[in-house]
Subunit: 188 residues, 2 copies
């Protein structure tokens, strides 16, 4: 951010009075421009013993597989966002949903909210952001071609719950360590 | 938003190619400026049979009571945000936390993430954003002086779980109806 979105003058970074973090503040109108984490909403769409994966037709991670998910929009709920993304990426309707997991990824200021639900009629077809869609069982998951670490962690939690015979709501963080490796921390 | 934060030229609202919603797009450099929901993180801090409330020293809802909570910052987790807010608003340390509930409020594009935990040593003192803090039992909650509807709904879920003898993770929406009334929808 270089310019004030309210008046168009240059901004500078400073800590506003009463605040404790540097913000972009307009040098003319003094408007403070906060920046906050963004939410990605998505889902695990189940059909019989399989789940829906989409192969990305867009960057980043073009050609790799992911669960349908995307940035939550203003004026929708997290669940509406998750269902909209399933429609956009896989022309899929997901019903009987439950919240499944939430992950904070602080080094990229993102929070993921993933649901679990039934893929209506087992139907999917690639939307404009997908090259293909597929229904896969646990042993067919292309683990080395999953687009995002958070999706790998979500799938691991999902199959652990499935093996245990009970789904619960999970809550974790994906932390980038000093050696640039990611660690998943699952809270109780 | 009236001006491009990247180059300072005026923006106009239009639907970018491949998109389906109007965005602020720069008339000069074509940068697209997305706007997304914001997360508020907070907590129910328990001490013996009581919980912590803070009386707001800031607008909106100056003088009314709330659970400690505030906007999540970039580069923190939702839990870190909740604990930071407890520190800032009540000089309180909260330990042994669990995720308690999540509410989407689409008409104001906000998502609340509320935790439950133990108020360490039962200690609190007003921070700069609070006039006072107090520990209250269920029958001392000032229901008609709670600052935000989402906090009233959170407290209702909390005392329902407490009466049932088991806490679970809740997930709901606060929807503004056509008559401007708010309805809480609790998902299964």
């Amino acid at each position: 951010m270089k310019f004030c979105s309210t008046c168009g003058a240059p901004v500078s970074q400073k800590v506003p009075p009463g605040d404790h973090l540097p913000r972009f503040v307009c040098t003319r109108c003094a408007a403070i421009h906060y920046q906050n984490p963004r939410i990605i909403a998505g889902c695990i769409a189940e059909w019989q013993d399989k789940i829906l994966l989409c192969r990305r037709a867009i960057e980043p991670r073009y050609g790799l597989w992911t669960l349908p998910a995307g940035f939550m929009e203003n004026r929708e709920t997290t669940l509406q966002g998750a269902l909209r993304e399933a429609r956009e990426e896989a022309q899929a309707e997901v019903i009987n949903t439950s919240l499944f997991c939430m992950f904070s990824i602080p080094h990229i200021s993102q929070v993921y909210m993933m649901y679990r639900g039934e893929l209506q009629h087992g139907f999917s077809q690639p939307g404009t952001e997908s090259l293909e869609t597929m229904l896969v069982g646990e042993h067919e998951i292309p683990w080395d071609q999953i687009a995002f670490p958070v999706m790998r962690e979500t799938l691991k939690l999902y199959y652990a719950d499935k093996a245990a015979g009970a789904f619960t709501v999970h809550h974790g963080d994906l932390i980038r360590n000093e050696d640039q490796q990611l660690s998943a921390i699952i809270h109780r």
